[in-house]
Symmetry: D2
Subunit: 140 residues, 4 copies
């Protein structure tokens, strides 16, 4: 994977674990989404404000490869890399690794587009700007 352009560090909360004592599969999608929204915010784009402004960013496909499970209290890093996939689609290449041992937990490819008020795909200039040649972003 190319060097990540954004990352956040989080920690598993007990209510995110299921009866197997591990983080439930669906919860990783929450982690991944949170990292994407934090990335957007870091780039000056607020997801809630975009939505209210009629720009709906939508996920059209998610590919999630689960390697290993996170458990209660584990610290982990979610990183992402944003790339254009086609004229109207982009992909967030994401990865979760446990800290501090960098054990690979999962990888994900989240493919999205944005819809205008009529439900038609289009890429607003705010998103286009993010798809220019990637520039490094300091993590928080």
């Amino acid at each position: 994977m190319p060097e990540s352009i954004f990352q956040i560090d989080l920690q598993v909360r007990d209510y995110e674990c299921d009866m197997e004592g591990i983080v439930n599969n669906a919860v990783y999608q929450n982690y991944l989404e949170h990292a994407r929204h934090e990335f957007l915010k870091n780039m000056g784009l607020d997801f809630a404000r975009l939505t209210r402004g009629g720009i709906n960013l939508v996920v059209i496909r998610a590919e999630l490869d689960y390697r290993f499970s996170l458990r209660s209290g584990d610290r982990f890093r979610v990183s992402l890399h944003l790339k254009r996939l086609s004229p109207l689609r982009f992909v967030f290449v994401q990865e979760i690794e446990r800290l501090p041992d960098n054990k690979r937990i999962m990888e994900a490819r989240i493919i999205g587009t944005s819809l205008n008020a009529n439900g038609r795909p289009f890429l607003p200039k705010e998103i286009e700007a993010l798809l220019s040649p990637a520039r490094p972003v300091t993590s928080k």
Copy 2:
């Protein structure tokens, strides 16, 4: 408790259980809310539509007494009884019991009001209508 005026039957889903193998405390609030919204819908009031129409029903206090835990696969009944508490406040007296043995799982008192667009409490006529002398409602 007086006879309940509304009830729905649900079943625990595995992802609602935590690492103790029981339904997480917060999840019961989801069950209780779902029963309240189903009750409103049954009375001709759609929560989503009320919200879009500027009527925000809000919970101002919740009292939850946990008696016993639900586990994976348990079926249960959520019942409710709606009463006026003061000119601008109402209370949902709710109860969850396990099925088919009617084991008492929890009781709750959910106190609410509604806010207008300016954030001021008021009871719209749709809600007032529900607070007239209770009439029995057939469960679904």
Copy 3:
């Protein structure tokens, strides 16, 4: 898609909707998982009991294609079809459609295996039995 061998009908609950007023992406994974666990139960296999017995069914890859969004109150059907993918891996081909208009909401391929107490993949006989030539199952 071949005829589905199992299906359950559910309804969106308001707490499952996010600030866009639609069901959050991660919640669909809950729906899909619930359908799989109900399928297993219907075949005489209880997920919670399997787990306690040392048989850990794990998802190793999820491919989720989101076509359209579910909203507050929508009824929908989750269907599934189980197939062997390799000696130690199986795939649940799943689909969610809205009711009653059968609008396609999403498709998913959930690839799994099972791990023994040492964390090594193996397929216990209970799962092997499910991978024999598919037989129709009546929906609930």
Copy 4:
């Protein structure tokens, strides 16, 4: 409220907001629980390990007073104060305030006990130790 003996700072994640654009009522219970578990960990008690060791800390009553709503991106502080309530029961007095303006969001009283393997209430020495005269704890 007496000075808090523990506090953690968190931030609302978008997936925690519901279709009203505010944090769903049930989610606050997650925040409160997370703060309690972090407190225990800070005192050398790990909730997951306690559970596996046969000490089940359980909530028997929750009183939640909702004052104001948190929204997407809001930062907030969860504080707590632990007190003995009776020989076998303790109470976490908790509070959530928005940052940086210290707007009061909610207060809670979470009453708990612990159960031994037979389901009988008892307070293990690890918990007794926490109920000695409160000593200040530095926040994280």
